[in-house]
Every structure is written in C-alpha cells, then in structure tokens.
C-alpha cells in the first residue's frame, strides 16, 4: 500500500509536466494576446510590453524560462493585474476556494449520505419521496439560477443572510454560497447512497445479521453502511474536484475572493502566467484528491488490494 502511494506521488511529476506544456502552448495558439483591448496600443508601447514580459523571445525559450521559474515556485507577474504577483493572488484565492469547496463537500456528503440512507430505509414511503424531491431540485436547477434565486429569497425578501460579498473571518457570508455549491452534490450522493443501500439491504450477509437477531440500527451501522458507501466513494473524487472548480460561478455571483474567476478572466484576457498558475495548482489538488480517494477505497473494501 505504501509503495503504491509512493509511486503514485512520483507519477505526479511527469503528469504535471505534460499538463503544463500542453497548457502553455495551447494558450499561445489562441488568437489575441494579453494587450488587445478597445483601444489600440501604440506599437512602441506594445514592443515595450512584449519585452518586459519576455514575449518577444522565441516560444521555446519562453517555455524554458517559465519552467525554470516554476520549479522555484515563482509563478511570475500577472500581465493584467499589476498590483499583485500571481503567487500573491493564488495565496489569497486558493485557500479561500479550497475552504469553500471542502466545507460544501463535507456538508453535501453528510447530508447526501443521511438523506440517501433514510430514503432507502423508508423506500416508497413519504420520507423517501420528500427527500428525493428536495434533493433533486439541486440537480434540476442550474447553479447560477439557484444562486440568484436564493439571493432573492433569503437575501432580499426574507433578509436572513447577507446577499453576497465577503468579510474575512465572517462565516455569515458563506451560508448562501455553500448552499448553492452543496445542493447538486448532495443530490448525486443521495441518489448513489439510496441505490447502493437498497442493494446492500438485500444481500445475504445483511440477511444473516438480521436473522442473528441484531437490531435494525446495528445492522445498518455495522454491516450495511461500509459496503453501501463504496459507489459513493468512487464519486467523491470527481465530486470534490467538481466542487472546487464549480465554485467559479458561485464566486462570480457572490463576489467572493476565490481563485475561480482567475481561470475565466485570465483565459479571456490571455494572461498567460495566471492561467498557467491556476491550472498547475488545480492539477496538483485534483491529483492529490484522486490518490486520497483511491486509498480510502482500499480501506473500505477489503477485496481491493493494490500491488
């Protein structure tokens, strides 16, 4: 197991290199550049800008320079945002997005698992119907619509929560964003949980446990939950990645200092350094998550063993 984990960690390096290279060259192939805008810049200024950011050197040389800086952790300057280096922007934005994503993840997973279990145990009775309906709203309604909707209801009409924005240290502002983020994820988890729980409840070993005279609660907690969680866990990896990247829209709508908008705006602005920086970071996060999930998998299912 340890060997396996170690080898996986090492494999990050070639994957990262390939991803950065592809990203680097694709960005340059896109039409337009970082200095195009409504007003044409005089050619002298364009020349100066290009020289300042090394854009006038041959592409391969720029690539090598960039890799060299990257290895020392220097993401370089942003071509668009002048008052912060990319490292500073990421240092502010990434922890925020991660916190937001992880909190939404924990909330969603907990609610999803509980809802799925309750629905499975009460199959075809009213708790099942109500829970499935409420949770399905998260899948049916797209997150940008849900965000505006919740803002209107809870922020404007009821005035229960702030409608948006952020103050460091104040969690009030995160209530709506986390709800919007967590809802679709909770929906999917609860569906998976309900389905797999129903299957598990019909297996031989659960029947055996019941016939031994164990109470239903004990049967569920000790014998049914772990195997029922297996399909859920395989969703968690991609689910968490989706949450971390899905926060882009939520951050935009609620005006949060996350890393998501750098992805979008930097790509639109052709801010090469910032796009690469966010891509590299996200890539590492997702790889780490997938590894973590694989390891959890092995713990949950005794039949899974990694060579």
């Amino acid at each position: 197991m340890f060997n396996y984990a170690f080898r996986r960690v090492l494999s990050i390096i070639p994957v990262a290199l390939i991803a950065v290279t592809i990203c680097f060259f694709i960005l340059r192939l896109a039409p337009g550049g970082p200095f195009d805008g409504e007003r044409a810049l005089p050619p002298d200024i364009l020349r100066n800008l290009a020289a300042h950011y090394n854009l006038d050197k041959p592409l391969i040389e720029q690539y090598v320079i960039y890799l060299g800086h990257l290895v020392t952790g220097d993401f370089g300057p942003s071509m668009v945002i002048k008052d912060f280096t990319i490292g500073q922007l990421l240092a502010i934005g990434l922890p925020f997005s991660l916190t937001l994503g992880f909190t939404a993840f924990i909330v969603a997973t907990t609610i999803g698992i509980l809802a799925g279990t309750i629905a499975a145990v009460n199959q075809n009775k009213w708790p099942d119907y109500v829970l499935v309906l409420v949770v399905m709203l998260g899948v049916i309604i797209p997150n940008f619509l849900m965000a505006h909707f919740l803002q209107l209801i809870f922020g404007v009409y009821l005035d229960w929560t702030p409608t948006g924005g952020y103050r460091p240290g104040s969690w009030e502002y995160l209530i709506l964003p986390i709800t919007v983020l967590a809802w679709p994820h909770a929906a999917r988890i609860s569906r998976l949980m309900r389905g797999s729980m129903l299957e598990v409840l019909n297996t031989n070993y659960v029947r055996t446990a019941r016939s031994k005279g164990l109470g239903e609660r004990l049967v569920l907690a000790r014998h049914a939950i772990k195997p029922a969680l297996i399909p859920v866990v395989s969703y968690l990896g991609p689910g968490l990645s989706y949450l971390l990247t899905g926060s882009l829209v939520v951050e935009q709508i609620f005006g949060l200092p996350g890393i998501g908008k750098y992805f979008i705006n930097a790509a639109l602005n052709r801010d090469y350094g910032l796009v690469l920086g966010t891509t590299v970071l996200y890539m590492f996060v997702i790889i780490a998550l997938n590894l973590f999930v694989d390891l959890i998998y092995a713990w949950l299912d005794p039949k899974v063993r990694y060579r």
């Binding site: 002048k82 502010i92 922020g155 702030p162 104040s170 639109l268």
Partner: protein, 537 residues
C-alpha cells in the same frame, strides 16, 4: 426567525470586534463592477479603476460634482500669452496622508512615469499635448527630463505644451496626469501602490484590498477639504454579474449600482422610482466599415448601409434604456464645439424613403435581394451587441445585403479590427476628455511605419481623407476656440458626408442611487467623486 436573529447578532458582534472603524462611521457601499488591475493611476484605463484611484489621488485640476474642471492640488495657475506654458502654484496645505507635503516633484514623477515607455501606460497618449511626451513615449527621446514638465521649486509646476491646447486643463483632470508620492516611490519603486505603502493626497486612503471581493478606503483626515467630506469609509465592491448586483442593491447591501442590465429597467422604474439614473454620456456606439475592402470602398455602398438603419428604435425598443440615435460623430454636449450638431439631410427623410434609396444605391452597385452582397458583421460577445446586430442585419436584408454574424471575446475582437481582418465591425468609444478632437482623432489617417506598414491606431475602418487630416492639423494651431470649432465642424462634415463610419447611438450612463445618498449629480463625463456624496441613515 429567532435563531437567525441570534446568529446575526453574534456575527455582528464578532464582526464589530474585528472592524477597526468606529461603530458610527458613515460607510458608503459602492458597486464598482470589475476588479481593478492596479491602484497606480498611470497603469489603469477602466472606469472601474478610475473610481478608487480618483478618490485617493488628486491632480493639479480636479472635478466638481457636475464634472467641470476645477482647481485641485493647485491653488492657482497662469498661462503664457502664446498659450503654451502653464504655471501652477500648489496649495500650501496639499499633503500626503503620511504627513509629507505634496511637492512639484510628485507631479513631475507622475507625468514622467506616464510617458516612460517602460511603464507601458495605455493612456500615455492622453497627455501628448505636453512637449516631447510623444517623442519620449515612442523612444525617440530617451531622457525623461526632456518632458515639458518641470518643478521650478517645491511648490511650482511649469508645464510646456507642444502647441496651444484649449482642452489642456480638462486633460489634467484625467488620472493619467495624477502625481505620484516621490518619497515613497524612491524607496519602494513600483510597489508604492501596495496596501501598506500607498499614501493619499486625496479625500480617502485605500486600507484593504481583498482581490475579487472589495477595496476598502478610509477618510483621509489630512486632506485639505476633509471638513466637507461626509463619508468616513468606502467599500468598492467587485461584482460583474448584473443580476447579483441588483439583488444586493435591493437587499440594501449596495448604496449605488454603477450599471444595470436593460432588462432590469422596467422593474427599477416601477418598484424603485427615481433611483435609476439614465443620462446621456459622452460616448458613441458605432459600426466601422473596412474601407480597404473593395466593395466598402464605394461611398454609395457605405451610404446605403448607413441610411437604411433605423436608429430611432435601438435605444427605446431594442435596448430599453432610451439611448439617443446618433447621426453625428461628435456627441451633442461636447465642450469647445460651438455650432450646430451635424445632422445629415437624410435623417429627416421618412424611413421608408431611405430604404428605397438605399436599395437603389445597392442595385446600382450590382446587389439586390436576389443577388445579395455577403457581409460579415463582427461584434464582441454581449447580449446587447447581439440584439443590435440581429436587428440591423434584418434592416439590411431588404436592400440586398446578406449578413453573417460573428462574435468573439473582446480581446480577439479588437485584435481583428486593428489587423483589418473584418468587413463590418462593432466598436464603441467613450470620450477620454470633453473635447471634440477626442472623437475626430479616431478618423485620422494612419501613420507610416518603418517596414512599409501603416499604423491605423484606433481608426479601424481605415478612413483616409487628406483634406480631413489637414483640417485637424490646422485646428491644432488655432487659439480662438470659436474658430477652432468651425474648423472641426468642417472636418466632421467631410467624414460624415463620406460615411467614413456609421454612428448608431450615444451612450448613456446607468446608475442606481439609493434614496439615502445625496450629492450625486448626473454629468456627461460620468465621473462621480465620493467626496461630494452624503449618506443619511
């Protein structure tokens, strides 16, 4: 309800402990739109960057609430007889927020940095009226001290111009001419705008910046007019989603919205009467025609395209916010432009007759609805641009033009326009200062470059008329404003009679101002300094 009330009280208590401002501070919550790229006045170019910057730095001249140029850091000025030398005397009480007096050297630094090619400032050209500014910016002159801005002594700034420039005092109100604190710049260089280093000579000091969320500024007690500044704290919120911004305004979290979606206008008019301000603004929305294209080089084709557009419906019906149709290139209300606004004879002809005439012109050029001219119409991605493009394509169909719509993000779009890779393109120009030359320069012929290419600058349509260029050059030598205005009117008439460009509508500024805010004055330059605003609870 009770639970959330308790939680809100607890959160509020916690937040109050964290906040350093006194609990009774008057806080203005301003929706700013985008996230500024910098707080450095010589490195920004958007109106969302202008707002926080112009509240913490003040130039020699500043604006009053109505957008007129008034004295700022300068106590007085004198102009030489030939109108090329301006001498400004600074106020005795002009100070940076760390207690250091403002000196003439600060203004020299700001303007030198503006034209320094290393700064790569987008707006360096706005101060090209200053002697040698253009030459330094292009690298022809390498010594920054050759710039026509000198510190005669600590309190006297002398600016020498290339030639008499009637709008020069106006140009000084633009942030490109703001001073930089030399004492901070000498120590930390370009980092002088980081929170912690930044100092203000204006009414507010930026104290916190959470990128993607807000910038917070506090009142600068050392500002010479601090006694009249009634706001203690300003939050410039970052939020580009118009619907979310409106929600927050309705929830009372924003006091002012700097824009709103046209779809929201009926709601604002019915539920929040009097709060939406839709005011003409010096800017033109227009289509350029690439006159290097052989078909579009024909003035009759251009005429047909222009006269067959029904501009009257665009503002009221397509956009919904009542933008006025544009028949002239220079918007009405532009200063230093005495005389009647250009209005072509065909503007008063019934629309049906215009369409018939256009169809005839196109037929003469060989294009009919059965054998249409295929034109590509490019615009940058936006709901409004798309609606207008679709409408205009429909207006052109009956005269024998088949339009292919093409949209791209703003960077790619303008890249294509600059490169001449288009047939018809959408563009917009918000005037940088209140003088007609700012619009007329857009149609000036290109300048030849080494290597045989021509740099057309912002003249995307490549309109080229030597007589027009000559009139513009002549106007630069005319000191008498009325005479100059007459020359410029003639130039505009030439370009418009030849359909060098198709103006469509004049921009409007769109604000929503909550009733508790006072002191907000609609003005055509759409710059509203927070120092003039008040907020009652």
């Amino acid at each position: 309800m009770k639970f959330t009330s308790i939680m809100r009280v607890a959160a509020l208590a916690g937040a109050t402990v964290l906040m350093t401002a006194p609990a009774f501070a008057v806080t203005l919550n301003l929706h700013n739109g985008g996230d500024p790229r910098s707080l450095d006045p010589q490195r920004v170019s958007g109106n969302w960057e202008d707002r926080p910057v112009s509240d913490y730095i003040e130039g020699l001249m500043t604006l009053d609430a109505a957008g007129n140029a008034i004295l700022g850091q300068a106590a007085s000025y004198q102009v030489s007889d030939d109108q090329t030398v301006y001498t400004f005397t600074l106020r005795d009480d002009a100070m940076w927020s760390d207690g250091t007096p403002v000196t003439a050297g600060d203004f020299v630094l700001g303007l030198q940095r503006l034209v320094d090619p290393a700064t790569a400032s987008d707006y360096a050209y706005l101060q090209y009226a200053i002697k040698n500014a253009a030459a330094i910016n292009s690298g022809e002159i390498t010594d920054l001290n050759e710039l026509g801005v000198k510190a005669i002594d600590d309190k006297t700034v002398e600016i020498t111009l290339e030639s008499p420039t009637p709008y020069f005092l106006q140009a000084l109100t633009h942030y490109s001419a703001y001073p930089n604190p030399k004492h901070v710049y000498d120590q930390v260089g370009d980092d002088w705008t980081s929170i912690g280093n930044v100092v203000a000579n204006g009414p507010f000091v930026p104290v916190e910046w959470v990128p993607g969320s807000y910038i917070r500024a506090e009142k600068n007690a050392g500002y010479y007019d601090a006694a009249n500044v009634q706001i203690d704290e300003v939050y410039y919120y970052v939020l580009e989603d118009d619907a979310a911004a409106l929600n927050r305004y309705r929830a009372g979290e924003f006091d002012m919205l700097s824009t709103f979606s046209p779809d929201a206008y009926p709601l604002l008019q019915s539920d929040y009467p009097g709060q939406a301000h839709v005011v003409p603004f010096l800017g033109v929305y227009y289509y350029v025609m690439n006159q290097e294209d052989p078909v579009l080089a024909d003035v009759n084709v251009r005429k047909a395209l222009s006269i067959s557009i029904n501009r009257e419906v665009i503002g009221p019906e397509i956009l919904g916010t009542g933008e006025l149709p544009a028949y002239s290139w220079v918007p009405p209300g532009t200063a230093n432009y005495e005389g009647d606004t250009y209005r072509p004879a065909w503007a008063d002809t019934p629309y049906a007759d215009r369409v018939a005439e256009a169809a005839a012109l196109m037929a003469a050029a060989g294009y009919t609805p059965d054998n249409p001219l295929n034109l590509q119409l490019r615009y940058n991605t936006s709901d409004a641009h798309q609606r207008i493009a679709v409408a205009i394509a429909a207006m052109w169909a009956p005269i024998g033009v088949n339009v292919e719509l093409f949209n791209a993000d703003v960077g790619t779009h303008y890249d294509a326009l600059s490169a001449g890779d288009f047939q018809i393109g959408r563009a917009g120009w918000l005037m940088d200062y209140n003088d007609p030359i700012n619009m007329l320069d857009l149609l000036k012929g290109g300048t030849a470059q080494e290597g045989g290419t021509i740099n057309w600058g912002n003249n995307y349509g490549r309109y080229d008329n030597d007589e027009y260029d000559a009139l513009l050059d002549e106007s630069a030598t005319q000191i008498d404003l009325v005479e100059r205005a007459a020359t410029l009117h003639s130039a505009e008439a030439i370009a418009m009679d030849e359909f060098g460009v198709i103006p469509i509508y004049y921009y409007v500024s769109k604000w929503v101002i909550a009733p508790q805010i006072g002191g907000f004055v609609d003005n055509p330059v759409d710059r509203h300094l927070v120092r003039y605003l008040t907020k009652s609870e």
